[in-house]
Symmetry: C2
Subunit: 204 residues, 2 copies
DNA sequence: CCTACCGATCGGTAGG
DNA sequence: CCTACCGATCGGTAGG
């Protein structure tokens, strides 16, 4: 993602940081210490530059937060758009959104992690939370449609099914680390198996 | 829980706050703003007392955190102890732990929420995270036992099943609010149904 | 002398 | 990108 903290031939001045490489460091710190508890001095120390150097690239601390949250949200909405383009059964589109969300979560882990930890203290956070709720509405719509098509159980409310389903997906940020033994593909398979078919063996 | 910010007959001095009522206010603020981002002045303002009055009851900010985390962890470990006393099938003990965890989560929501948002920046947080990992090991052991008894599917690793299961349970803190339309009992039923049997209708 | 605080201020550090 | 700063606020403690 951020391989651009390097010399670009033909450009003047010091190599220095780009907004992207700066964003990677900021998001890592926000996730470690919390957004509000992270100081710009800490971020500067982490990046090996001064606080003022950061303000050369971005106008404020909250703008770093906005850029990070938009990156996660844009990737998640791209998944719902891809799923919406299909005309197949709603249960298949739901599975597509679950697999796509796991893929985005693995590919953009720090950004999705930050998104899921929002408290809504600032205006930027509240705007991001609105977009999250819009994502939830889309998923709930898919669950409801799949229920009407007879592919989802009717003894649990679709909104509740949707919340439990994405509760499971979102909880992956708490422990999943790409590059380990478990690939994002294998993780997707396990998540779909457990959430769609349950952990219990069919009795009998 | 904290009804003791009232006059106790026979005691001298002002009624004032108890450690328990103080803890309720502290945990509410910690969850809103984050532990590190919460100042003792904010807490004092919220409680309608001075900062010095807080230090009359507790020696430090981190002691408030410790008390809150221990309350959540003690309640969760009580559930595993109750489940461990049973000699029935492991799948039944697993269900007991899931239902008990949902009950604790609903009854002690602010305290469990705080526990699940730990970053591990302080020694107190790291100690609490160790106790959480011990809880996870107990649950994984139950899943493994239930698998050996033929009641849990064998195509997903027990540690992964355990993580997905408690990912679902823990995600309840993100949206569940007691006192609404959904009782903790109904929520338990839905969680057990979805996690044990899946959201999909059995094909055919 | 007790419990339950208050008004003021300490040495350091925050975001900008 | 740096040095040199600002208004304010941090967790914690003094005497009464």
């Amino acid at each position: 993602m951020s391989v651009d903290a390097v010399r670009v031939p033909g450009r003047r001045g010091r190599p220095g940081h780009s907004v992207d490489s700066l964003l990677d460091g900021a998001v890592a710190l926000f996730n470690e210490r919390g957004y509000e508890a992270t100081s710009m001095d800490e971020l500067a120390a982490r990046l090996g530059i001064t606080k003022s150097a950061i303000y050369h690239h971005v106008p404020s601390k909250v703008e770093l937060l906005r850029l990070a949250l938009d990156r996660a949200l844009d990737a998640l909405f791209a998944v719902t758009q891809e799923a919406g383009a299909s005309t197949g059964p709603a249960i298949d589109r739901l599975e597509y959104v679950v697999r796509g969300s796991v893929r985005v979560l693995a590919a953009e882990l720090p950004f999705v992690t930050l998104l899921l930890r929002l408290r809504g203290n600032t205006e930027v956070e509240r705007t991001a939370l609105q977009r999250r709720r819009e994502f939830d509405r889309i998923v709930t719509g898919l669950v409801r449609a799949a229920e009407h098509e007879g592919d989802v159980r009717t003894d649990v409310d679709p909104a509740l099914v949707s919340r439990l389903l994405f509760g499971t997906v979102n909880s992956l940020t708490e422990w999943y680390r790409p590059g380990g033994d478990l690939s994002a593909e294998d993780l997707s398979d396990a998540v779909v198996t457990i959430t769609f078919s349950g952990l219990r063996t069919t009795p009998g």
